[in-house]
Symmetry: D2
């Protein structure tokens, strides 16, 4: 059983069915009936009028958001281990035309308000230094930790006070919402978030993510940037249909809950091997000599995290997917408990 | 019945089935079994070792190819009506970091060797003027016309002599191959083409195009650029599977033949209303007063081309898709004949 | 005697003296006393509050202005023979991060309002086509022709109506003002110009041009872009001093008048050999067989314009400099008259 | 007396005279007699054939070098306090089209081979992470420390082994050569350096730096990039003349020796107030309460370094210029000794 990443799981059957149901002629690009429903569907989720734009990847969603919030000559504050810094091959630099990622530290890949203000304090207000224009945080974080509405609001307050745009990388936003029980609105625009990468691929979709713009003025230029980046697919209905299926009946939340439950079960079995609290669907474990091999011998695959992410260090990472709920991962939990 | 564009047609059933068959866990990105088969599958089609990279859109394929062939400070010669100039919102400028499209004229959106050499002759060889680095042509052209192997070879000879990279936008390459009966190899690398955007979306795929690199040295940097542009989808198998399905049993050619046959039938009905010879699946007609309305009243939809493409002018454009073969389009042909 | 270009002339003695007078310690970059006086000095010339920024080259001034007026995904309308298109090696594409130059035709390298509106009319209002964001014209034009205040105002009205920024390349603005007698204000901001490249190098300076921002909100980002482009010289006082010397006692106008007078004398001698009316300091002549050689044999150097600018064609170009007034160029005039 | 920075000093009389002597007509841009002599003059200094290109600023020299050595999708390893990271407003990101600066630590702003290899070790060899393409170090460093030929060679060996380009920011290269007595060749190309920013502005020039390309293949594209960046000044002779004057009679070294001697005298007076050894012309001092004020009261101006460079911290920085030799700075030395 694979625990490498939730980005390799199959597509949820309801999403696949939605794709099949979209298999008919309609207007090209985003002129079709499915694409046209996205704004309303996401506005309902977020309890406010939003613009929702489909893209095929989280990297595209993140980069388009950052390009909307940061001009080429400024910078974006983010965690040193943020996906935008570590795992997108410099995509933000490409989309922003060279803006700088300004790296901060923080436990579990979370950013604290102090880290932001300290970064700002270290920048002289003159043309020789790159000035900050935006903050980007990830919820759930790259280590599976969540931000509470209060934590988000505190960051949002700093952004507002200091004139920073506020982007939320929500590759696992569903897992964070499912875990905290907080409302999508409280975790985003009510806390000052301007743009959200609403992840679906890691949560049961095939190749559909949503870029949610709470600041709807950002939409116009973003649509041009999207096309210019080659991300405006001709047959958008197959993408939009996935997003609508994810929202239908709150599939996004039930999928996330299942994955979270799987991770929780693993965490319970892991006891003091845990390197971080397990709040969503990622489990980082300390394993003794031979233990990784023992688990692999039983058919469990996962990453040696210190190899994947040398800067981060750590040991073994297990990520559960929408189809790996508590029941499904019990064999792994048992194997870990038996170590 | 819609004849707006082949980019809005449904997905061919064999392609949809391939997507469904890929619905299982496998390595993420392009590490899966399907993606790993692409080089071999396309190498067979082209009778030489190629690197084949999947992308979701033709704009991405074109732009990645051009970025591989042209540095930021140089230029790409193309037709004034080329898709890369007219319909990609400046994507080549984004991917190349500002390279210049150098526009030439030519009947039916085709580029002749003279147009290339004349453009080169008008550029001073000094640092004040942007120098040309590449040529990009489209086969079938934006007006549905094909290049013969000899025409391609003549262009390739100019490129070789003048040190230009050679890109072929093959959004409708299948239609061109089906129409001319020429071999894919003769229309590409044997004529000197370095990189080909092998279109599938307009020919029955959902969201999969292939970037074919005949100059395989271009692959390494291109893979980084692809990721950096947010085009490396997590679940690449669903994309790769589409391409494999298109090649399986030469579906790409039978689909193209069907679309071409539909266009041919329309053309025969159109007689001297034709503005261009119909060689593939696009038909441009001159219609008299009230005739467009008459056709629409009978349920046939199409573009007033002078509205869509003011610079090009022209009148009514009909494009047939893989599911609009001669039999399917007979009602339109009859309606045109009856005008 | 050389008539290749006014960009090769010596520095005017008053400018050189100003440089020498600036040879003392002061604050670096643009914090010095000279740089601090620029806004006031140029505001007086233009009868309104402007921001004046020194740069070393006209290409930098033009590109910074265009970057301030056009985002990466839009375009700038300009003449096919404009310096920004022909002679800056794609600098606008670099500074704007890939914006497109949208080329129009027009006699004598001048742009008419119709050319602008026709260009706009040919652009579909959708995300597939690059939208125009700005207009750039050159006064005096690349063929030495001037715009009247009325002509500028007509262009400005189009810009205002269509939401375009308006840039004026004034590499030879002094010659245009001297020729028309129009006020600097009427030729710029009163006609709707947002940013002006105020040329000095071709008019007696060493390496100092002024970027004049009538829309002063453009200044903040522009200062960062300037630094980021490596154009913020450490010892700015030597540059600022040149600009102040050019304005002092209207040296910029007397220099331009001298050059214009030289060109006028040549034009009078040339009679019907003239290809364009001579309004400033450029003279384009039609020469018969052997005549270019004959002039060169007498020591007069000039460009065969068809060689320098193949796209433009034309024959012999003579440009007079600040130190080539009517008296100085009389030998050339006599030689032409004697042909 | 000012000790803010060597970038505010007057121009050395021999340099000013060279500018005045260049005040005549000649070919524009870099076609003049002075510019044409640069390659030969610098080749003599470096004991090998080099290409020498003038630019007006060190930021331009650095950025052009980095753009030549690093494609947009890769990264440049440099010190966290490097000028290219701290003080150029993201210019490398602009010129490279978004390449990433990969920051390392090291005493006195120096980079050790281990820091480079550790950085490389932390980068996974896959397309998700930005790969390193170049190393940039500064000699003398931003804290005035020098690299020996052996230290440079050790860095060069890492670059060669790992396929990195090697750039040297030599804003104060003259001071480093003067201090170490090492040959220019040993500190550069013999150690594997591909491109050097040879600083002159901080050493007595007005607005002339030299970009020295030891890898002469880099020159062709660089000349286009230079023009495209608006750095090809029309009257290049006034810039080239400065560089020739700096080399003439080794003025660059005598100026640097004078500045170094001034700093050494200050250092001797400072005793254990010194925060770094003084090897060139920068002195960083720890001052007690009121002491900075006391020095300023006596007319000595300098930076509170913790204010200028919050990330670096530190206290008072004094920089001596070419005209502040031991004799000139004695009053400051005495004042410090008297604290």
């Amino acid at each position: 059983m694979q625990f490498f990443s939730d980005n390799a799981a199959p597509v949820h059957p309801q999403v696949m069915q939605a794709i099949i149901d979209a298999d008919q002629i309609d207007a090209p690009y985003d002129g079709d009936a499915w694409s046209q429903k996205l704004d309303a569907a996401f506005s309902q989720v977020f309890e406010t009028e939003v613009t929702a734009i489909w893209v095929a990847t989280g990297t595209a969603a993140n980069s388009l958001a950052l390009a909307a919030l940061c001009p080429p000559h400024k910078g974006i504050i983010c965690h040193r281990l943020a996906h935008i810094e570590q795992d997108e091959c410099g995509a933000p630099g490409f989309y922003t035309h060279g803006a700088k990622l300004m790296l901060v530290d923080g436990e579990g890949a979370k950013v604290a308000p102090d880290a932001v203000t300290n970064t700002l304090a270290a920048i002289r207000d003159d043309v020789h230094q790159v000035q900050a224009a935006a903050l980007s945080v990830t919820n759930a974080s790259e280590y599976g930790l969540t931000y509470s509405p209060e934590e988000m609001a505190a960051l949002g307050a700093v952004c507002k006070e200091r004139g920073l745009g506020f982007h939320l990388d929500g590759a696992r936003f569903a897992n964070a919402v499912a875990s905290t029980g907080a409302s999508p609105a409280d975790l985003t625009w009510r806390a000052g978030v301007d743009a959200l990468s609403f992840g679906c691929v890691k949560n049961g979709a095939m190749n559909a993510e949503a870029l949610i713009l709470f600041d709807r003025d950002l939409a116009k230029d973003t649509r041009y940037r999207l096309k210019r980046a080659g991300h405006l697919m001709s047959k958008g209905r197959y993408v939009a249909a996935q997003l609508l299926a994810m929202l239908e009946g709150d599939l996004w939340l039930s999928n996330a809950r299942a994955a979270n439950a799987g991770a929780t079960l693993i965490a319970e079995a892991a006891g003091d091997r845990l390197l971080y609290p397990v709040q969503t669907n990622e489990v980082f474990l300390k394993l003794g000599p031979g233990e990784a091999d023992a688990l692999r011998a039983k058919g469990f695959d996962f990453y040696d995290w210190g190899v994947v992410m040398p800067e981060a260090g750590g040991e073994a990472r297990f990520v559960t997917s929408w189809n790996q709920d508590a029941e499904a991962v019990r064999p792994l939990a048992d194997a870990i408990a038996a170590l």
